[in-house]
Chain length 191, copies 2
DNA sequence: TAAAAAAGTTGAACAAGTTCAATTGAATAA
DNA sequence: TTATTCAATTGAACTTGTTCAACTTTTTTA
């Protein structure tokens, strides 16, 4: 059952009784996406928070120059949303696209609000999750400033071998913030 | 009284009764720092979370090449800590230095844990604060990838005129992730 | 207030990364 | 299965940003 993975993920962050765990888990509804389908597109408002049960997603924005700037990838056991649009209920700048046939569990914004109210320990859960995410974003910024593109590339493929093996070089380049031509040159002169 | 600003800041995030607000606020202890003094240095463990009541701080890391990489600045009404070291109780990679004579309110890690336990709504407070911070970090990454150094510079000084006017160009360059010589050239050819 | 230290400027040479265009290779859809 | 589309590679010319060194200006400290 797809909720099992979600429950295990939650347990990594916080201790919950089985009853509470089931309550939380039941708020999440499964959704299947085909390869290349979008869970969210730029301009719309993000009304869900998601957890990836299977497959892989790319969260990216298209800037003025037409570059696809990838904020992050989310594979199995990762969370997924546009937190900016979700919190502020403003038009999203992000696209969330399935890179392969995928399955997610979604909780709607409304349901999340009721969940916070009915089960206050969920506040703690998302407080901890958000703080962990914050740590990753800060680390990534430091890497972006202090590593060269080549160092960032190898850090990425070594840290996330499972995810990076599913990605094209173009997608990886979009995550690293470099052109795919330059990534190709990095790979060439590293052999 | 210096706790007033903290209480106002908390109220921006969440509604609390005056009683609860006072309870939270009382956990925070004032500390004065002279210009150039450090609140945290690389290698030590961050045991506090801080709120700036007056003055200004720079949160930076010294990388292998000897570059001072600035994660963020925190002026009056901003929060301050190494969340990575604080959460994981591992050696910090960050230095937190006062840029001018400053006053902070600090809550110790121990006190924060008891506060979470005695007043569960504090979970919600920090959940919201963390999520807002997350939004800022994501936006900053997108800017770093899609803006040139020149665009990032003007975005910074226009968005944070109060903070940037207190900073040297060297410090701003460290925040933007560029050399201070290049920042000088950007300013020259923008006149 | 003088001396010292730090910040800012400038130029020249260099390195990192982009852009464009052409070509090849791989995956996908009809 | 073939045509088509998309990904990857390469080179050349270019732009962005770095490094180093010398110098000026401002700020700090004794």
């Amino acid at each position: 059952m797809s909720h099992y993975l979600l429950e295990q993920n939650i347990k990594k962050n916080i201790h919950l009784s089985n009853e509470d765990l089931t309550t939380v888990s039941n708020y999440f509804k499964p959704l299947d996406l085909k390869r290349k389908e979008f869970l969210l597109t730029q301009g719309s408002i993000c009304k869900f928070e998601g957890f990836v049960v299977d497959g892989c997603f790319r969260v990216f924005t298209l800037d003025k120059k037409g570059n696809e700037n990838t904020l992050y990838f989310a594979a199995k056991d990762w969370w997924l949303m546009d937190i900016d649009s979700f919190m502020n209920q403003t038009a999203s700048n992000l696209n969330i696209q399935a890179l392969e046939d995928s399955k997610v569990l979604l909780i709607s914004r409304k349901d999340k609000v009721s969940l916070y109210e009915s089960l206050p320990i969920v506040e703690k859960l998302f407080r901890i999750m958000s703080q962990k995410a914050l740590v990753s974003w800060q680390r990534r910024l430091i890497r972006n400033h202090s590593f060269t593109a080549k160092e960032r590339y190898f850090h990425f493929i070594e840290t996330y071998p499972d995810i990076s093996s599913k990605l094209t070089d173009k997608q990886i380049a979009g995550y690293l913030g470099i052109s795919h031509e330059f990534l190709s040159k990095i790979k060439k002169n590293s052999k």
